[in-house]
């Protein structure tokens, strides 16, 4: 089987650089899954869960905050502003963030866009939160 290598980079550091069996990334309009042998692709990411399964069928999740994905041969590079392992997301904190996002008042069009983005981000975070 051809293998797949996931490289997850943020501006601060490379979080992940390992071979995996399959990857699911949050594209701008929904989830997309990659298996080995995917045709080359460059895509815009949305906010949400990046899920990867390694050779033994164990899966891991990361929260990614926008960015890009590039598939080139066996290598999948995910560039994102921020990535957090799902095991490190606290439910309490993300709930607080959601409350904060809900409380944001938006008057102009621009502000509304920002507020909606904030809300989406908080919802995605909360959905993935695994610990209290």
């Amino acid at each position: 089987m051809a293998d797949l290598r996931l490289v997850l980079v943020t501006p601060e550091k490379t979080l992940f650089d390992r071979p995996v069996a399959s990857i699911r990334v949050p594209l701008f309009d929904g989830s997309a899954g990659f298996y080995p042998g995917r045709a080359p692709l460059v895509g815009r990411l949305g906010v949400g869960e990046l899920r990867l399964t390694d050779g033994n069928g164990v899966s891991e999740s990361y929260f990614v905050d926008g960015g890009f994905v590039q598939v080139k041969g066996a290598q999948v590079s995910v560039l994102t502003n921020a990535a957090v392992a799902a095991s490190e997301i606290s439910r309490k904190e993300s709930a607080a963030k959601l409350e904060e996002a809900r409380a944001t008042r938006a008057i102009s069009e621009e502000e509304r866009n920002v507020a909606v983005k904030k809300l989406q981000r908080a919802r995605a975070l909360l959905r993935m939160a695994s610990k209290d």
Partner: protein, 291 residues
Amino acid sequence: MANARLLVKRLKAVRNIRKITRTMELIATSRFKKAMDRATEAAEYTKKISEIVGDLGRASLSFAHPLLEKRTEEKRSILLVLTSNRGLCGGYNASVLRQTVAHVREMKAKNVECALEVSGKRGIKFLNFQKYPLAASYTNFEDQPAFAQVNELGTRYAEDFIAGRIDRLDVAYTRFESSSRQIAVVESLLPLSSLSTGTDTAKDSGIEYEFLPSAQEVLEEIVPAAFRAKLFKCFLDAAVSEQIARMVAMKGATENADEMAGSLKQQYNRARQAGITSELAEIIGGAAALE
């Protein structure tokens, strides 16, 4: 004759200072290593960004983006000055501030309004003393600037630029060339001159990519990302350079203290010997007088 007691006191003071500078040197060395590691990790991101930009180049589309547009008439600009919060780092802050002042003068000559935004207590103090009006000042960027913080700034600048509130953005910082060479520069970040942050973007990968949603939209998203990565790199470079400057300055200070301690010790020994000799002479003189 020098006072022996005074010399002992001074010698002790010099030795204590040497201890401090030596410790600071060691701390700066370890911080430098950490900052350097961060900078290398960040380079990976910029490399990938320029790789995707290179791929986009093949898609033959117009590289038009508001952040890339050069304004025909420049009226308002922002100069972001990156200095350190702490001193004792040789000419690090002075050289950045020299560049800053020169740039402000140049902008004034060109009749461009220049708002100063300063990061670092040293720069804020100096510019306040020189009575330059500061539009904003930050002291929250330590030797490990976080991307989230830089991102906030970057987003604001990009918005201001697109909305036409500013026509250019420059950053005065110390660029890291190698561990033995750092230069204070004023770099123009907006309008973005080129997307390629690395050098080898022209390399053609020869792969036909599928772009989601479209090459144009990926481009629209990647230009701000490239800008933010560039801004972040400025902060990282400044942090690395600061630690190197401090390391070098403290190394010099330690060596000076060593030299000073040596000469003081010599003076003390001479003074002590002179004292003994004169005492002996007195005793012998007294004994001779009694005979």
